[in-house]
């Protein structure tokens, strides 16, 4: 009976546990005094954590992930250097000032800590898409299609006849004044299209040319030529398109943060990330 009572008390104590706040071992170190006021390392730590702990932790964790998943290659360096040239051309003489306003010491700092990291992150997202291709294809249902849109049904019908006779989409589009270019493109569930056109594409199971599709909201007449329904025949093109979707980069981040066991042990950091970057709360 005594043991049962002791266990109950222990459980009650457990319910009184509180959040953890990581403390410095030398937080009481005084950085400076002014009159009676002392400013310690703890004072700075508290304020810096409140300002940017989430950003700093995510950046540091990302650095570790990139080191392991995407080492810097000559191709990545080339991509980063190309970005740098673009910035130089865009900003001209004001480039150094622009860098300083964003907190970079110089071009080298910007290249190393921003452009190179961004180039690595682009490769990381591509890697995520490649490694999870089958699952992402199920979600995004990519197909290759030519979409031609016309102001009149007569133009749409004439375009359909030309496509069926083997003339390419760009030529047909130009001949009948299509508002879209007529090149083959990868369409996914995220692509911004007229509802009826999108529905035709998503329901397509084989390469085919549609009948005239009347626009759902305005008077347009579209012809769609499905040129590839099997994503495995367009892996590279589909990987590029999926990697550039807004949602993919953040899905990729969460995937790798989970893979590398990102775990938070400080309540201030937890709150900062929950407020500013909630997708990184993985528990």
């Amino acid at each position: 009976m005594k043991k049962i009572l002791l266990s109950l008390c222990a459980l009650l104590l457990l319910t009184g546990c509180s959040d953890a706040y990581g403390k410095l071992t030398d937080g009481n170190t005084v950085l400076f005094t002014i009159g009676d006021t002392q400013v310690t390392k703890d004072d700075l730590f508290k304020t810096m954590k409140a300002q940017a702990s989430g950003y700093a932790a995510i950046s540091e964790a990302t650095r570790v992930i990139l080191e392991n998943e995407v080492p810097v290659t000559p191709e990545i360096e080339e991509a980063a250097k190309a970005s740098l040239e673009t910035y130089r051309a865009t900003y001209g003489e004001s480039f150094p000032l622009m860098l300083q306003s964003y907190g970079y010491a110089d071009e080298d700092d910007f290249y190393t800590n921003s452009l190179l990291v961004n180039a690595q992150l682009t490769e990381l997202t591509k890697k995520y898409v490649t490694d999870n291709f089958d699952q992402l294809v199920k979600t995004h249902d990519p197909k290759e299609a030519i979409i031609l849109t016309f102001a009149t049904e007569a133009d749409a019908l004439a375009a359909k006849a030309d496509l069926e006779s083997g003339i390419d989409g760009i030529t047909v589009g130009s001949t009948y004044n299509s508002s879209s270019a007529g090149a083959e493109r990868i369409i996914t569930t995220s692509t911004d299209l007229d509802t009826n056109v999108k529905s035709f594409i998503q329901n397509a199971t084989e390469n085919t040319i549609s009948d005239v599709i009347v626009g759902s909201e305005n008077e347009t007449y579209s012809i769609v030529q499905i040129t590839e329904v099997d994503p495995n025949n367009l892996k590279d093109e589909i990987t590029t398109v999926l990697a550039n979707l807004d949602t993919t980069a953040s899905e990729s981040d969460v995937f790798y943060f989970k893979k590398y066991g990102f775990k938070i042990y400080d309540k201030d950091l937890f709150d900062n990330i929950q407020t500013n970057y909630p997708s990184y709360i993985l528990d």
Binding site: G22, T33, L44, T47, A57, Y260, K267
Partner: protein, 323 residues
């Protein structure tokens, strides 16, 4: 065993029930708690790839980008608190500002306004919602510190600004017009009435109160207060106002609103220094006034960097101070 259960069965059942309740309660209370972790005796902030980032290491990471800037904020706060005495007027103004901010946060965030307010206050080096008044007071004390510095160093800080931005106090009389390029007879008659009143020797302020159709300034004798070359006035008005010497009155100046008569009331430092906007514009033109004012006051307070020369050098560099 059977005998024990026969004798104590109800007690055992009740105990098991309570253990279950407490266990579930314990789980429910702790599931959202952030658990701590130690590595070699140090608190861990987060782990990635089984690597622990301790509090000490995280401090160094944060310090790289934010350290000196945060140190300066704390430095400034300590100097301001040690240098400027709080007046009743400051307290009342701080309370008013704080009440306005609370009201604004309540409108925006509703029941969670205090939580949102605390998040922002913590980034500024404060702890609780009740520190909002303190933050406002510290801001007013800082303004006083800067004003005192400007008054004491007027020769070095004021002249370049005055030459570049031509600060002054101005008043005007406005006659509104539907089409200023083609005044109606009625509109012209109003301008004539102003001219006649001024010719009689009536003070400009009285004529403005009587005739000016800019109702906001008319009640103040036409006064628009402080302005300089960066004030957002329509171009013709701005040009006309900046061209005047103290005491001069312009000819009628056309703008999109109608016609204005402008008087330059003052360009002297002592008058300008009574306007809060003067200090705002001066410190915008010369941002280094603020850290210089703080550093100058710090010298009188017993400053000690604990022989940390590296930290002191970095802080002074951030402040733009060379010793």
């Amino acid at each position: 065993m059977k005998d024990m259960f026969k004798k104590y069965g109800v007690v055992i059942l009740i105990s098991v029930f309570f253990v279950g309740i407490i266990a579930y309660f314990g789980y429910d209370q702790t599931k959202n708690i952030v658990q701590g972790k130690k590595a070699n005796g140090e608190d861990v902030i987060f782990t990635i790839n089984n690597e622990d980032v301790t509090a000490n290491e995280f401090y160094d990471i944060l310090y790289k980008d934010l350290g000196i800037q945060t140190a300066y904020t704390q430095f400034e706060k300590a100097v301001v608190n040690g240098s400027v005495e709080v007046t009743d007027e400051m307290k009342a103004t701080a309370d008013e500002y704080a009440a306005n901010i609370v009201s604004s946060f309540q409108s925006q965030y509703g029941a969670t306004y205090e939580q949102e307010l605390v998040k922002i206050l913590k980034t500024l080096g404060y702890e609780n919602a009740s520190d909002l008044n303190l933050y406002m007071l510290d801001g007013l004390k800082k303004n006083t510190l800067i004003e005192n510095y400007v008054l004491e160093n007027k020769d070095t800080v004021y002249t370049p600004y005055a030459e570049a931005k031509k600060p002054r106090v101005v008043s005007h009389i406005l006659i509104k017009m539907v089409d200023p390029t083609n005044p109606t007879e009625e509109e012209k008659a109003k301008m004539d009435a102003v001219n006649a009143a001024l010719a009689e020797g009536k003070p400009f302020a009285d004529v403005a109160t009587e005739f000016s159709e800019d109702t906001g300034s008319a009640v103040q004798g036409g006064s628009l207060g402080f302005m300089d070359a960066d004030t957002q006035f329509v171009p013709t008005f701005l040009e006309g106002a900046l061209a005047l010497e103290a005491g001069q009155r312009s000819e009628w100046i056309q703008s999109d609103y109608g016609y204005h008569l402008i008087v330059c009331d003052a360009t002297d430092f002592d008058t300008l220094a009574t306007y809060p906007d003067f200090y705002t514009q001066l410190t915008t033109f010369t941002p280094e006034i603020q850290p210089k004012a703080v550093w100058a006051s710090a010298q009188n307070l017993g400053l000690d960097f604990k022989e940390n020369e590296e930290f002191k050098t970095a802080l002074l560099s951030y402040m733009g101070i060379s010793e």
